[in-house]
Amino acid sequence: MFESNIFFQDFSGILTVVPYTLGLALLILILGILIGGILTLIDQYKIPFLFQVAAVCLSFLRGTPLLVQLYLAYYGMPKLILFFAGLLNFKFDPNQFDPVITVIVSYSICFSAFQSEIIRGAFMSVSYGQIEAAHSLGFSSVQTLRRIVIPQAIIEALPNFLNSYLTIIKSLSLAFMVSVVDILAKAKLESALNFRYLESFAAAAAVYWLLCAMLTVVFRRYEQNIRKKA
């Protein structure tokens, strides 16, 4: 009933897309952190207009499922680009548009909402007293930020970023909906050949689980290492 050799065959088949999935998730995480950082800045400095726009965007991102956002991006983005391409007079073929770009853009934006919260929390965790101490010693604002605040905020934020990384890896299983091949998508493709669905999905679960368990151990070691200092 459960063919273990098919399971292992699927397992090794799925392993081939692991590096791709990890890389894609990392790219999304980094872009998410960058966009999240900008959102935090807009929020902290209450930049007029942008501040309100960001608030509406964040509310939307938190209030709609990722899958819905993905579909919106998948069907909306090529049209949007086509429109701007028409304005700017360059050629764009929506049929040649790689859906991976859709995934990268929509996931980065979606996860930037969470990264923004992480960044804000990390900065707030540095006590104001330390900032005052630095100022009283004659540090400029930039020096205070660079030498005192950011090093501590990074230590505070890193474990949460790494946590987000795991979440992104798992969320990428939705990307097959727009025909991007990650771990789950590979499992579906494997089973399409022999109709052994249980084995291939079990193999997918095993890959996810192993991957996350391993990354968790590595991250925890790393966190303990940096925490020793603080």
Binding site: A133, A134, H135, S136, L137, F139, S140, A230
Partner: protein, 253 residues
């Protein structure tokens, strides 16, 4: 060496400082005493611009600053001549004791690492922490943290060190070690402006006592005058609470 002129400061319509004038000479140990909420700490924070006074002037022997028209450069200049020791120590949490002392020397004074290290070693020695160089703040007691922060201030060789209730956050067992260090610094000729509730300590180390109440200086003079022959009724009243021992209040008014 340092003169404050007509310092005014309000927080939301509530006037905390109502025109403070104060002169401090080189080597003076000036202690500000007075009830809580009087503006002692605010005055201290105004001196190195952690609070911006609404009005007033600060003058060093060769440098003057009017608080109503300050430039960023002036603020940095002012802060580089003064150093502050906080009630809550405010050490940099991600740095060891010696790194805490070195940091500003490297960043602000642009000293080499080696020079900063040697200076820091000397100052940590002075506060009796030569054996805790590589400890992080979380591994130190409150008294030790406060002594590191004193070393951090000393290492900048400021013209004046501002102490903001340096022992208020410490439990009674640890107060002594910090007071000893301050006493020793005071006797080595460093100019000090101190806010404290440790009256006998203030009486002992100060060259001048300033009594503040409700945003004004009520009386100032040498400790013997303030503590024994005060001219003002309010000063006497305030200090009478420190001379009497604790007695349990049994009758309600």
């Amino acid at each position: 060496m340092l003169a404050l002129k007509n310092i005014h400061k309000s927080f939301n319509d509530h006037e905390i400082l109502k025109g403070i004038d104060l002169k401090i000479n080189k080597g003076d140990v000036v202690t500000i005493i007075g009830p809580s909420g009087t503006g002692k700490t605010t005055l201290l924070r105004c001196v190195n611009y952690l609070e911006k006074p609404d009005e007033g002037e600060i003058a060093f022997s060769d440098f003057q600053l009017n608080y109503q028209s300050v430039k960023r450069k002036d603020i940095l200049r002012l802060r580089r001549r003064t150093a502050m020791v906080f009630q809550q120590y405010n050490l940099f949490k991600n740095k060891t004791a010696i790194e805490n002392v070195m940091e500003a020397q490297i960043v602000v004074q642009k000293k080499s690492k080696k020079a900063a290290y040697e200076k820091s070693l000397e100052e940590l020695n002075r506060v009796g922490l030569a054996d805790k160089l590589d400890a992080y703040p979380s591994q130190l007691s409150g008294g030790q943290q406060q002594r590191v922060s004193i070393a951090r201030a000393l290492a900048m060789e400021p013209e004046i060190i501002l102490f903001d209730e340096p022992t208020s956050a410490l439990d009674p067992e640890l107060v002594g070690e910090v007071l000893n260090v301050i006493d020793q610094i005071a006797r080595s000729g460093v100019t000090i402006l101190l806010v404290t509730h440790e009256m006998s300590f203030a009486q002992n180390i100060s060259t001048k006592i300033v009594f503040m109440d409700q945003g004004k200086i009520v009386e100032e003079g040498p400790p013997s005058q303030i503590f024994n022959h005060s001219r003002e009724k309010r000063t006497k009243e305030f200090l009478s609470h420190f001379n009497s021992n604790y007695t349990k209040i049994t009758t309600a008014k």
